[in-house]
Amino acid sequence: MADVSLDQAQDHHAAAVAARRHFLTRFVIYGLLVIFAAIYLVPLLVVVLNSFRDQQEIARNGLISLPRSFRLEAWGQAWSTYCIGGTCEGMQRNFYNSLKMTIPATIISTAVGAMNGYILSKWRFRGSEALFTCMLLGVFIPGQISLMPWAFILGNLGLSNSTYGLIVIHVIQGISFTTLFCRNYYVSIPDDLIKAARIDGAGFWRIFGKIILPLSSPILIVTVIWQFTGIWNEYLFGVVFTSGQQQPITAALVALTASGTNVRAYDVMSAAVLIGALPPLLIYLFGGKYFVRGLTQGAIK
């Protein structure tokens, strides 16, 4: 027990000192947070503002300046009329390509990962740990290693230069991640639950549907966010295996910003960048807090 025989005056003085120190520390803490927040937000702010500014005005005043003009045309141009490498359709087609690639690849790889994780945590068999370790290696293989084999396989399947080819790549590559996430999460579900269900006569699918799945939402949210942002943002496979109108949005963005003529169309490029960044940003803004919470339950162990 702490000693409480301090007299009143001393108590007051100590309290005053403590209050001042407390205020100072708070000041430093919030000061640092504000500085870092500014560093993080300025690039975003610059892009957002420039997407509404007039191109001539940007050229005159530089990228980082308060807007003195406001127009929405850049967004329309970036979406549907701006020319990238000869075709003047803006980013819309590439945006749809990315959606057509990301949504199926995310759903399939997450579903497969959940099943794998369920089996590798609740239906272990001799050697299943070793197999799990082998699957895990897939997480670490750099994409460059698989470029040649994929080129060969996609060529033979007739899937080169198509969104379907990219779906195949992202599903196979993603299984390692999704399995890892789900398996590590399911391990923490008590085995007694499963045992009890088995005694009651529940089988493989019933246990998954009635016990595992209802408990899965934290890890499924993490996995879906991870896969969606990862696949949407992927560039290497997109630029290697597709071209022109088949390209996902990341590859198109690079093509667009590289196709600079004399005057750089910063307004259109800013809008294009935002169009490319928006889907994962929205997903993250709505699911971010579940993501961080779930990541620590599943991914990092």
Binding site: L63, L120, L131, L137, Q144, G203, T257, L281, K289, T296
Partner: protein, 311 residues
């Protein structure tokens, strides 16, 4: 009896087909993934390894030439710059993002108001692609339109900030951008780690009269040491695979000053039609990863065994 052998514990006298199918179900479901992963991990790597030992140029061919591709790779100045850049980048990127991430995590851990808002601000770059980040930062680094132009516009007409267009410093432009993108992720993991520390430990230290600083140094940070390692390993993977960021930010330039192994592989395979040497470069990337990951995985296994031994 451990909980490992749920399957083995079912009695096995003449079972009806349904039950047998039921017990085979896990393997049936897992099978395709196992095959795919096996092909992806071993066959693909073996294939690329073989191509790296062959005389492939425009198309894969299988004439065995031993280590010739590796010899010509390491004789190339551009490759040596790429590999040096990789080490420079990895070091600064990991230390930088972890330092910033830890600082931010500790700041947020001080029961600040609006915690969710701060966290969102620091973490949002994680959701954005390296392509987007690289593109935007290349504008900021651009001397005639970006930061330099802005500061000059404010009156300091001699101000110079042309990091990305200077051969000697462009790599630091890549590093700064990488740290900007990645430190929020480090923050999130550190913060989660700090929150998971048993609060009794902290209370005990407080009762002993330890200062906040001391509590962090002596109690909290040592307890989350495994997270440091995990973050470092995750970051180093990003570093070794760095391709998008450089492709969007500097395109490997000015000149060849910010070439990275990943850029080099892409160039050889798809721009110059030197598949054999490109494969050799890809294998060298894998080697760099293995140097980090093999000891790490042994450590993880060792730690798990130790914990299991105690439990």
């Amino acid at each position: 009896m451990s909980n490992h052998d749920l399957i083995l514990s079912t009695p096995a006298p003449a079972r009806p087909w349904r039950e047998r199918l039921g017990s085979a179900m896990p393997l049936l479901v897992l099978g395709p993934s196992l095959v795919a992963s096996f092909v992806y991990v071993f066959v693909f790597t073996g294939w690329t390894l073989y191509i790296s030992l062959s005389n492939s140029s425009l198309l894969p061919t299988y004439g065995f030439v031993g280590l010739d591709n590796y010899a010509s790779l390491w004789a190339n100045r551009r490759w040596n710059i790429a590999y040096t850049n990789l080490f420079l980048f990895s070091g600064f990127y990991i230390v930088g993002s972890m330092a910033v991430g830890l600082l931010l995590a500790i700041l947020i851990d001080q029961r600040v108001r609006g915690e969710a808002v701060w966290r969102t601000i620091f973490l949002y770059p994680l959701a954005v692609s390296f392509i987007v980040t690289g593109t935007v930062w290349s504008w900021l680094y651009n001397p005639t339109d970006g930061i330099q132009a802005m500061v000059r516009g404010l009156g300091w007409t001699n101000f110079s900030f042309a990091l990305a267009s200077d051969r000697h410093y462009a790599i630091y432009a890549v590093i700064i951008t990488g740290v900007w993108q990645a430190s929020g992720f480090a923050m999130a993991l550190f913060l989660a780690g700090l929150r998971s520390v048993d609060s009794d430990l902290v209370k005990a230290a407080q009762i002993d009269g330890a200062s906040t600083f001391r509590i962090y140094r002596k109690v909290l940070l040592p307890t989350i040491a495994p997270i440091f390692l995990a973050v470092a390993v995750i970051q180093i993977q990003f570093a070794i695979k760095t391709f998008d960021l450089v492709a969007a930010l500097t395109k490997g330039g000015p000149g060849i000053s910010t070439t990275f192994p990943a850029i080099y592989v892409y160039d050889l395979m798809f721009q110059r039609g030197q598949i054999g040497e490109g494969a050799a470069a890809a294998i060298m990337m894998l080697a760099a990863l293995a140097v980090v990951l093999v000891p790490y995985s042994f450590w993880v296994v060792w730690r798990r065994r130790k914990e299991a031994g105690h439990g």
